[in-house]
């Protein structure tokens, strides 16, 4: 492995500024690594030529003193972000060879900040999944394996390709999107940092929609500091997204003081159900201890409606998805399978174009919105959602951030859970409440399981208070000193 691919964004930025290496060299090192790591199936589309030409342009800007905040940094873009002139599949057959004539707001911001796109990363189809196994481009694999066991493991999902790529050092950072845990769970599985910002922090314009009221783009990086740099480049008000918040984008990097003395950290008691994996419980306790040692006050809080969160999520997200995915009808773009009538064409196109999990969620969502069931399901779910948000609001009256496990288990093997949707959905049990409330959530790698797999803890903060979340996260990161590397990348 080239030394260049090991760098953090901060280190690479400094290295290029000093002239230690060029943006082209940095990109080339990643392109070379990508070729060697194709077995991971982390990228659906690689864009080496585009990457090199952008790196060249970056180098010119660096030399002329016009470097942007992400200048020359090689990144993976989740294949849910529309990229102008580059095939965008959303991990689905139904988009066929769809090449958008436009660039998503977030990927455009990154590009404008100088980031170099290496390619489009793998994901669960339409971001629906927790293992990256529902992708029409095939499963992505984690670079991690259990100690003494070569079983292929899932990278988590839906942003599995991004997590795998960043962990495998074939992207310095990557974009993810998170609807119920799709950034945080794969980050935890792959031993990297993943931040789901406050809903409204990053524009959804140009991101293929899954569940509009939950979808949020965020950075996936190897350090908390990198997440801070990248978030700043991604965030900002966008008048083209009515749900994008007209708030200032702070300098997140500057918020990383490492000083959390006097801060109050809450541990929600409902996140310690009977049967919680003792290893996860122990990791959580250790994390709390680290924050206490750093001068924070750790207290128990209650989020009483937590137990309804998963059920609520699995009404709201599929309901919105059933409507959002109606546009894939074979009429204007993407796959079309001809039929003997319009309805027949719809049926054939959508049957051929959507995978099983997407079809399941469209059906669940359609049912939940149907006449006679709307009140019992969708409306009730919205009421519970409000109660869940209220729980957090109450908790944040007394604490500044909340610490929880990110996932209930470490990464599992390919094919182990894919046939059991409910077990699969349980992966998101700790991340979904935050999504429903629209709050920022950060997953930080904190330790290894007994089988040698990464485990993460989640920090949740107040609305638009990513600064505190990142600052506490950086303290946790430092205290945990997570330095393990996937097999083959050590040394």
């Amino acid at each position: 492995m080239s030394e260049l691919t090991k760098l953090t964004i901060g280190e690479a930025r400094d290295g290029m500024a000093k002239g230690a290496f060029t943006a082209v060299e940095l990109t080339q090192a990643h392109l070379t690594a990508m070729e060697k790591a194709r077995a991971l199936n982390a990228y659906i589309t690689e864009t080496p030529d585009l990457a090199l030409s952008r790196a060249e342009a970056s180098q010119v800007r660096i030399q002329s003193g016009k470097a942007g905040s992400m200048e020359g940094i090689p990144v993976g873009i989740k294949d849910l972000f529309c990229t102008e002139g580059v095939k965008t599949t959303a991990g689905s057959k139904i988009l066929g060879d769809f090449v958008p004539p436009y660039e998503s707001f977030v990927s455009r911001k990154l590009k404008d900040a100088g980031a170099v796109m290496l390619g489009k990363t793998n994901l669960d189809e339409f971001a629906m999944g927790s293992s990256n196994e529902t992708s029409a481009s095939g499963s992505c694999v984690s670079p991690w394996t259990r100690s003494g066991d070569d079983t292929k493991l899932v990278p988590g999902g839906s942003s599995g390709g991004s997590a795998s790529a960043v962990a495998a050092r074939i992207a310095m950072a990557a974009t993810g999107t998170d609807t119920g845990g799709s950034i945080r769970q794969p980050a935890a599985f792959c031993g990297i940092v993943g931040l789901k910002p406050t809903y409204g922090r990053c524009s959804r314009w140009g991101i293929v929609a899954f569940a509009s009221s939950l979808d949020q783009a965020g950075p996936m990086t190897r350090t908390v500091g990198d997440a801070a740099i990248m978030l700043r480049a991604m965030a900002g008000h966008d008048p083209m997204d009515s749900t994008s918040a007209p708030v200032e984008v702070p300098n997140f990097e500057a918020a990383l003081t490492g000083d959390i003395r006097g801060l109050k950290i809450g541990l929600p008691k409902e996140y310690r159900p009977e049967g919680l994996d003792p290893e996860i419980a122990a990791l959580w306790d250790r994390g709390a201890e680290m924050l206490r040692d750093a001068g924070a006050e750790v207290v128990e809080v209650s989020l009483p409606h937590t137990k309804y969160a998963l059920a609520t999520y699995y009404i709201i997200a599929p309901a919105e998805a059933s409507s959002n995915l109606a546009r894939y009808d074979g009429v204007r773009y993407g796959l079309r399978v001809d039929g003997n009538s319009l309805d027949d064409m719809y049926r054939k196109t959508r049957a051929a174009g959507f995978g099983e999990e997407v079809r399941r969620r469209i059906l669940v969502g359609t049912y939940a919105l149907s006449a006679g069931y709307y009140d019992a399901y969708y409306l009730k779910a919205q009421k519970v959602r409000a109660l869940i948000a209220e729980d957090f609001k109450t908790a944040f009256k007394t604490v500044d951030a909340i610490l929880t496990p990110t996932t209930p288990t470490a990464a599992f093997g390919l094919g182990e859970e894919v046939n059991d949707p409910v077990t699969m959905y349980l992966n998101d049990v700790f991340t979904v409440p935050t999504s429903l409330a629209g709050l920022p959530g950060l997953s930080v790698p904190v330790g290894l399981s007994s089988t040698g797999l990464p485990l993460g803890l989640q920090l949740v903060g107040r609305y638009f208070d990513e600064e505190t979340v990142l600052n506490v996260g950086s303290v946790l990161e430092k205290a945990a000193g997570f330095s393990a590397l996937p097999k083959g990348l050590e040394g």
Partner: protein, 485 residues
């Protein structure tokens, strides 16, 4: 209540409610920046949002919101400062998103009212249930290709106001009056051009019937997309008659959507309730609730034009018009303005008579609008002045008007040029009278003998000999004096 259906089992009353889709006059679409110009090259006014490309998001067009509020104020309706856009989900080839963004439980405008001006001069109030904003769909064309349907998305996303009446209408005639009045108000406001032929105003009619004296609301049928006022009235008659027949034959009406066939004068089933779409309405998560404050509403209210009802009251009060004449004059703003220009400083009733009977009559025959009238308001006013000042007689005035209609000329010049001035010179009239008396001694004797009715005949003869220019009043007076002494 004049419209009733006499069935075999008794008398039936018709209950009618209208849902009118009105295309909002705006530069760009409801949720995108594409132009709304009618008649452009197919698919030339389609943005990424209108075509529902992946990841595209709607952004509300404030101008359309203003138009909806303006219309709500024109309908004297409750303006909801908080309203919610909802998705109405269904699949169709000309509906790119697979849903229409509409408003469902919380529309932008609530209850209001509309006053009908009936042909007999009476007025009647009809309740407005609501007005909501929604997107129009694209257009499917099934006749352009032997095996394919073509889609034009130019209309996709254009703003519509759906205006729903309460089931307050009882006659086809009232439904027609409702549509005409609504159109008049929308045109005054400049919020919809009301053009039913071009489809910028489309009407769905809800019809049910019930035995007279019964005030239950029975199952209704919805007759979709009726595209003229006349067809709306015909569709109601046909549908009401059908329902009466069903009931009287022991049947039941099932709730369904029907289509009106103007050629056959009947409605037929389009889809029954069982096959009805389940639209799965839910609040659109891509849009925040629509919110504005009182100041926004008041600013729009302050800029409202005088509306037909107020204008009508003013015409009655200021010009002494009959309610019927006033309502005819105010239907169209340009007509009303024309009338006001003619009536300014003159007798309003006479002005109204001339405008309604002579001008509108001529315009109607020629198929012209008042804006295209060859007779300007100024010239018509001058004509009335000539009449009032006895420069010409009423009969001559009609002739002058015809010349004005043909040439667009100034009435004073026409009267001068054609020598049409009324003869008020006593000597000249006396001479003409003397001539007629001298020529008809036997008739003079008859008058003297008591047949005073014959005086009219003498007047006619004198008018004839003076080519209508003699002042008829003076002729009468002189005749009486000369014959009866």
């Amino acid at each position: 209540m004049t419209y009733l259906i006499e069935g075999e089992t008794g008398t039936w009353e018709v209950v009618i409610g209208l849902e009118v889709h009105c295309q909002v006059i705006s530069q760009s679409k409801l949720f995108s920046g594409s132009s709304t110009t009618y008649g452009a090259e197919p698919n030339s006014q389609v943005s990424l949002v209108d075509a529902a490309m992946p990841g595209m998001l709607p952004v509300i067009n404030g101008a359309c919101v203003e138009q909806a509020v303006k219309t709500g104020l024109g309908l004297r309706a409750k303006i909801n400062k908080h309203s919610v856009f909802a998705r109405k989900n269904y699949f169709y080839a000309d509906l790119p998103q697979g849903y229409q963004i509409s408003q469902y439980e919380q529309p932008i405008v609530g209850e209001g009212k509309l006053v009908l001006d009936m042909p007999d001069g009476s007025s009647r109030e009809v309740g407005i249930e609501r007005l909501h904003l929604e997107q129009d769909a694209g257009k499917s064309m099934h006749d352009q290709h032997p095996s394919k349907s073509l889609i034009d998305l130019n209309r996709s996303g254009v703003a519509l106001m759906e205006i729903v009446s309460k089931p307050d209408l009882r006659e086809p005639e009232e439904a027609g009056a409702y549509l005409r009045k609504l159109r008049s108000i929308l045109r005054y406001l400049g919020t919809c051009d009301g053009n039913m032929e071009e489809g910028s105003m489309r009407c769905d009619v809800n019809v049910s019937v019930r035995p007279l004296g019964n005030d239950e609301l029975r199952t209704r049928c919805e007759v979709k997309n009726v595209n003229s006022v006349r067809f709306v009235m015909q569709a109601i008659e046909a549908e009401a008659r059908r329902q009466v027949d069903v009931y009287e034959n022991g049947g039941e009406i099932v709730q369904e959507t029907r289509l009106f066939d103007p050629a056959k004068g009947e409605t037929r089933s389009m889809r029954s309730k069982e096959n009805a779409h389940d639209y799965r309405y839910f609040p659109d998560p891509d849009l925040l609730p629509l919110e504005f404050d009182d100041a926004f509403v008041e600013k729009i209210r302050d800029a409202l034009p005088e509306l037909p009802d107020d204008k009508k009251s003013r015409f009655i009060a200021d010009f002494g018009l009959t309610p019927y004449d006033a309502s005819v004059l105010v239907v169209d703003q340009a007509n009303a303005d024309y009338f006001e220009a003619v009536a300014d400083g003159r007798d309003g009733k006479i002005a109204a008579n001339w405008v309604i009977n002579n001008l509108f009559g001529a315009l109607g025959k020629a198929g012209k609008s008042v804006g295209e009238s060859p007779v300007s308001a100024e010239n018509l006013g001058k004509l009335l002045d000539l009449l009032k000042e006895d420069v010409i007689s009423g009969r001559i005035a009609k002739d002058v008007f015809e010349i004005m209609w043909e040439t667009g000329g100034d009435p004073e010049a026409i009267v001068e040029e054609k020598g049409l001035k009324q003869v008020t010179d006593t000597g000249a009239i006396e001479a003409a009278v003397d001539a007629v008396i001298a020529a008809n001694p036997d008739k003079v004797a008859d008058v003297k003998g008591g047949k005073e009715k014959l005086l009219g005949w003498f007047t006619g003869q004198v008018m004839k000999s003076t080519q209508g220019k003699a002042n008829p009043g003076m002729v009468n007076e002189i005749l009486k004096k000369k014959i009866l002494g």
